[in-house]
Amino acid sequence: MVYEECVTDESSWDADEALTAVYTAHYTSLVRLGSLLLRDTGTAEEIVQDAFVAMHGRWHRLRDPHKALAYLRTAVVNRCRSRQRHLVVVDKHTPRTLPDEPSAEQAVLRTAETDRVIEAMRTLPEKQRTVMVLRYYGDLSEAEIADTMGISRGSVKSHAARATKSLRQVLEQSV
């Protein structure tokens, strides 16, 4: 006997099993995604935890880890975006300082470079910044970004193009 639902073990997971599995695989990267969007790890953690709680309650409808991840990503991005819109423009969260890392020259250079990029990202409007984070950190395709943000692929394209243009300008100036 072959049940459709048994084709993979994953789809017979109950909500707890799914939660544990998806958490293990994606919790850290989702918090990091949220932190990039918000520049506030504490809030990002909160938002991602909320999203996992919601995913658990919705597992019977998702029933598929890939769907669950897409759901989580959308939930995290949406919540981060609305949080950002509500935050006053003032960025009270200064970049986190590096934890103990090898102080090789390479690492220092890399960090300076990273800081420049992150600083430059802050000059972008929210949508453009979100598109760039999803593209370069999330490695999402245009279509996936469009789905996640609930905008058209055309908008993704134009946000990305505008963001690229202004980032380049800012980065060239700051060299």
Binding site: Y27, R63, K67, Y137
Partner: protein
Amino acid sequence: MNDNDDSFDELMRRALRDEAGRVEPSDALPEIRARAHAQRRPASRRPWLLTAGVAALGTAAAIGAFAVFTGGDNTANDGDAVAGPGTTTSAASEVPPSQTPSKATPSPVPSQGPTMAPTVKATQPTDRGAPEQSVPSAVVPVYWLGANVGGAQTKKEVRLYRTWTKVSGKPAVEALRVMTQKRPGDPDYYSAWSGAQVNSVTRADDLVTVDFKQLPQTRLDSDVANVAAQQLVYTIQGAMKDAGGTRVQVTEQGHTGSKLFGQVDTSQPLDRAQAADVQAFIWVTAPDDDAVVSSPLKVTGVASVFEAQLNWRIVSEKTRAVLAKGTANTSEAYKFAPFAFSVTKLPPGTYTLEVFEASAVDGSMTSTDSKLLTVK
């Protein structure tokens, strides 16, 4: 700064990964778990999801359009629905009804064998009729119990909810296996038959005999027990594509007369109860749960509601604000009939669609079916 596209992409990737790598969240699984369990969804938000949505996850393609829209007003007529496009069911109901118990009966074909030609063997008990034929693939409805939520209810009421499962082998046996051994797709559903062990399902004319190695041990209130018995009848009839034409005799290791759930007499075959007495009142059949839709949103479903009127509303997932609401009518009151409505001007976002009946007593939401939607 290099103007080259690749090096820009490289720089962005490297910088964002580097920045992200500075974040090392602490373990939050225990907390998430605790919150997930503390927050079983409130009844007003989503009393129970309708089975059609659950089914759509795995089997929408196979089921195609739910045939309930084209076939009659009895939504529980799974015979029609199962025979929708894309199924390859050759159901047991195709066993000639004239086949008498004394004739040679098909032996149980190994359930994975897609063979359509039963081998003949005469060792089957002669008073129970023929087992089903195995089929390579069939989509069968499985019924579950779920609590009915309503403003006017003073006692707990259960109703039947339906999920669809793709099986191969003997449709009724496999449907029962799901019903007795699997978890339903919705945590709000449960099976009163969980833990029971099916021996065989045989059919002679209009009598289906379901023999259990062991009947469920649960004892239930008589109201619940009756619906639970119908859970079996509906599932059997659905798998056999026979809504109401057959009666179901329950036996335990060949013997009749056990009391089901401590209540239901099985010395006589069980008849199918009226859908209105046991079936859930509102089923949204489109859009599917978790669908990505465009505005205007078209919603269709089947409902049996007072004065043919039902209510709907769209709630933002983000803010919990009600963004739109309205009423819709089914084509007929008091019986299961189709409904459809459109929602216009929904901005992109994630919403819960709730379709419900306002209680005639206190206006509270009853019989809610809900779908999670993303509007592009």
